[in-house]
């Protein structure tokens, strides 16, 4: 690995960031364990296992950080090198928007645009195929679930679906 892709004490070292996130999570778990009451070894409380798991998390995160500092690690940018990084980002954006739209708009009004976007954004499917799939698949699923299996999907503020 060349020096640009394998860095030690630099903020771009992805291993360092992974370890730091782990350490922060471990610290939070320890704090939560303490807050919940540890109890005694004869009668462990609700926070007992959380507390010790948090300590273990900090130990393992520390080992990751130590390895990142001594042995170095790939940069954050190199993790997304030679891949179409924009594609997953677009899918994530669509899914996030969908998760906010699902309850107010209902299943049909939110899943049809989601399908259309995914079909056009990943590796564009031609419109003449994308539109029928985006409309028919969610509608078909909705019909099967609602009419045949009697499962109520979210209908949203407009009561569609």
């Amino acid at each position: 690995m060349n020096n640009d892709r394998n860095v030690k004490l630099r903020l771009s070292n992805s291993e360092l960031w992974g370890g730091l996130i782990g350490l922060a999570l471990g610290g939070f778990v320890i704090w939560s364990g303490l807050k919940l009451r540890l109890g005694t070894i004869n009668d462990p409380g609700s926070g007992y296992v959380l507390f010790y798991t948090g300590i273990l998390m900090c130990v393992f995160a520390g080992a990751i950080i130590l390895s990142a500092v001594t042995e170095g690690g790939p940069t954050l940018a190199s993790r997304w090198e030679n891949v179409r990084w924009s594609k997953p980002l677009l899918v994530i954006a669509c899914l996030t928007a969908f998760s906010f739209a699902l309850e107010p708009l209902g299943f049909l009004l939110s899943s049809i645009p989601l399908m259309l976007l995914l079909l056009r954004l990943i590796d564009p499917v031609r419109w003449t195929l994308a539109i029928p799939i985006a409309v028919l698949v969610p509608s078909g699923m909705w019909w099967v679930l609602k009419r045949l299996l009697l499962i109520q999907l979210p209908s949203g503020l407009f009561g569609i679906g």
């Binding site: 992805s14 291993e15 960031w17 992974g18 782990g22 999570l25 471990g26 778990v29 939560s32 919940l36 009451r37 005694t40 070894i41 004869n42 009668d43 462990p44 409380g45 609700s46 926070g47 007992y48 296992v49 959380l50 798991t53 948090g54 273990l56 998390m57 393992f60 995160a61 990751i64 993790r79 997304w80 891949v83 179409r84 997953p88 899918v91 994530i92 899914l95 996030t96 969908f98 998760s99 699902l102 309850e103 299943f107 899943s111 989601l114 399908m115 995914l118 079909l119 990943i122 590796d123 564009p124 499917v125 195929l129 698949v137 969610p138 699923m141 679930l145 499962i151 999907l153 979210p154």
Partner: protein, 502 residues
């Protein structure tokens, strides 16, 4: 005699039309996900976990089991014809299987892989029938200390075999335990890490976590690349291997079956390790090891038998101890729990119809798979041409519907999307989700058994060491934890490291 009566009872359950239908759906979907690269049995089982709610426990679990061993069969088709493993356990099959296909011997490669898988699956089931009841009677004597230590061992073995650095895998396992503890404390009923949200009082659901980490994250990862497929276009003929092929394959099938079965039983082990181990064994035993990598039929027969035998063997710890040895079995445990059943030593005596029904259905499923995978091979080859830009949006839609239907709760859809995004970034940074999921399932059981054993022993930690089974498990776990620190063992670990998620 008892076993025969039980097997007959099992066939009575498995041959019910509804169970036959679920078995067929399971093995069909299993073959389908095995054939399609990018979707593994874990994603498919997590997708279909909510479906098990609609039928009886027998039907649901028969279908889930069918997906698992069905995917082992299907995975070989893609490996041989496309040189892309359909699922992780078929990675090794690519090496010689695709070379055979390139030499115009795709038929015998597919044939021996199906027959070898059938023989191994049959052996594993017979062994399961004989071993499971005996092990269950021993397991009744297990106390909380033994259960806790066995689960620790299972988690450590899985982290040991996971790709990437061991501290990362262990960190993932710890996060899994913490996530598993969200919700009401089973002993004091105190809410933990719920952040005041009523939806979290019952804990985080297994379905959204697994669907997010394996289904959505898998799609996100796959969208990064244009998936190219080099499908063998020649007509596939002579699926029945020749006399010479049989002669060359008999030993590897036998050895792969026995090796796979025992590796499948071990906690943390499974089909992937078994197939790699079998390939290494056959290469070492061969008088002409130089043929390996250039289309040696032994390199297909051994690993394919091993991964199927391991798939059967993996049911033993789940059915007899209630401890899932790998993520797939953790999902199966989820299916049991959804139906209010607890696999363990008492399952066989309390629910003989369920246990023996599942075992018998696996045999029927193996026969179905032989029919599905040989005469219908052309159909699976056509399926390999299905465009991914249509498949991926459909998978996302099915995961959303699947999660919603499992709980009728939009919150779970949010959880799944969140775990999908987290899972994607985790994989990009080299953190495997398999230890997290197994620890998520085992976490509450581990905590319960740890606290019980501490209360029973009045806080004496030596109880974990003094009890022989517990002591042995913890010693083994400790050895595996220390092993990566030794350079020679570190290299060996990297060689056998696996990607459970594939």
């Amino acid at each position: 005699m008892d076993t025969l009566v039980n097997v007959a009872h099992g066939f009575g359950v498995a041959l019910l039309p509804i169970n036959l239908l679920y078995c067929f759906i399971g093995v069909f979907i299993g073959t389908l996900v095995g054939v399609l690269p990018g979707i593994g049995p874990i994603s498919a089982m997590s997708l279909l976990l909510p479906v098990t709610l609609s039928g009886t426990p027998e039907s649901g679990i028969i279908m889930m089991a069918g997906i698992y061993y069905g995917s082992m069969y299907g995975g070989s088709t893609t490996s041989i014809l496309v040189n892309i493993p359909g699922e992780a356990a078929s990675v090794v099959t690519c090496i010689d299987g695709h070379q055979m296909a390139k030499q115009g011997r795709a038929g015998p490669a597919l044939g021996i892989s199906a027959f070898g898988s059938f023989a191994a699956g049959t052996f594993a089931l017979i062994a399961l029938m004989l071993v499971a009841p005996k092990l269950a009677s021993i397991a009744i004597a297990f106390g909380p200390a033994e259960y806790f230590s066995l689960m620790v061992l299972g988690l450590v073995v899985l982290t040991f075999l996971t790709q990437g650095s061991m501290p990362k895998a262990l960190l993932m396992a710890c996060i899994g335990v913490v996530l598993g503890l969200v919700g009401l404390d089973s002993i004091t009923a105190q809410p933990r890490l719920t952040f005041g949200r009523m939806e979290l009082i019952d804990g985080i659901g297994l379905v959204p976590v697994v669907m997010g980490l394996f289904g959505v994250a898998e799609v996100l990862l796959n969208t990064e690349q244009v998936i190219k497929r080099d499908i063998i276009n020649t007509r596939i003929t002579h699926l029945l291997p020749s006399k010479d092929d049989w002669k060359a394959s008999a030993g590897p099938v036998g050895r792969g079956t026995i090796l796979g079965f025992f590796l499948g039983i071990l906690p943390g082990g499974g089909a992937v390790v078994a197939s790699f181990a079998s390939y290494a064994l056959e290469k070492r035993l061969s008088k002409t090891p130089e043929r390996f990598g250039h289309g040696a039929i032994e390199g297909v027969a051994g690993p394919e038998s091993a991964n199927n035998a391991a798939a059967g063997g993996a049911f033993i710890p789940l059915m007899t101890l209630g401890i899932p040895p790998n993520v797939v079995m953790a999902l199966l445990l989820g299916a049991f729990v959804i139906h209010g059943l607890q696999p363990g030593p008492l399952l066989i005596t309390q629910n003989p119809g369920l246990f023996w029904g599942i075992v018998a259905s696996m045999y029927i499923g193996n026969v179905m798979l032989l029919i599905l995978n040989l005469p219908m091979i052309g159909m699976w080859v056509q399926l390999l041409k299905l465009p991914y830009n249509i498949l991926f949006p459909l998978i996302i839609l099915f995961t959303i519907i699947g999660v919603y239907c499992s709980s009728n709760n939009v919150f779970d859809v949010h959880v799944m999307i969140a775990f999908g995004i987290i899972g994607y970034f985790m994989r990009k940074l080299g953190y495997e989700p398999a230890p997290l999921v197994l620890a998520f399932v085992l976490g509450p059981m581990m905590e319960n058994n740890l606290r019980k054993s501490l209360i029973l022993s009045q806080g004496d930690l030596w109880t974990f060491v003094q009890r022989p089974i517990s002591g042995v498990c913890l010693t083994l776990a400790l050895v595996l934890l220390i092993a990566p620190l030794l350079p020679s063992l570190r290299k060996k670990r990297e060689l056998v490291a696996l990607d459970e998620g594939a």
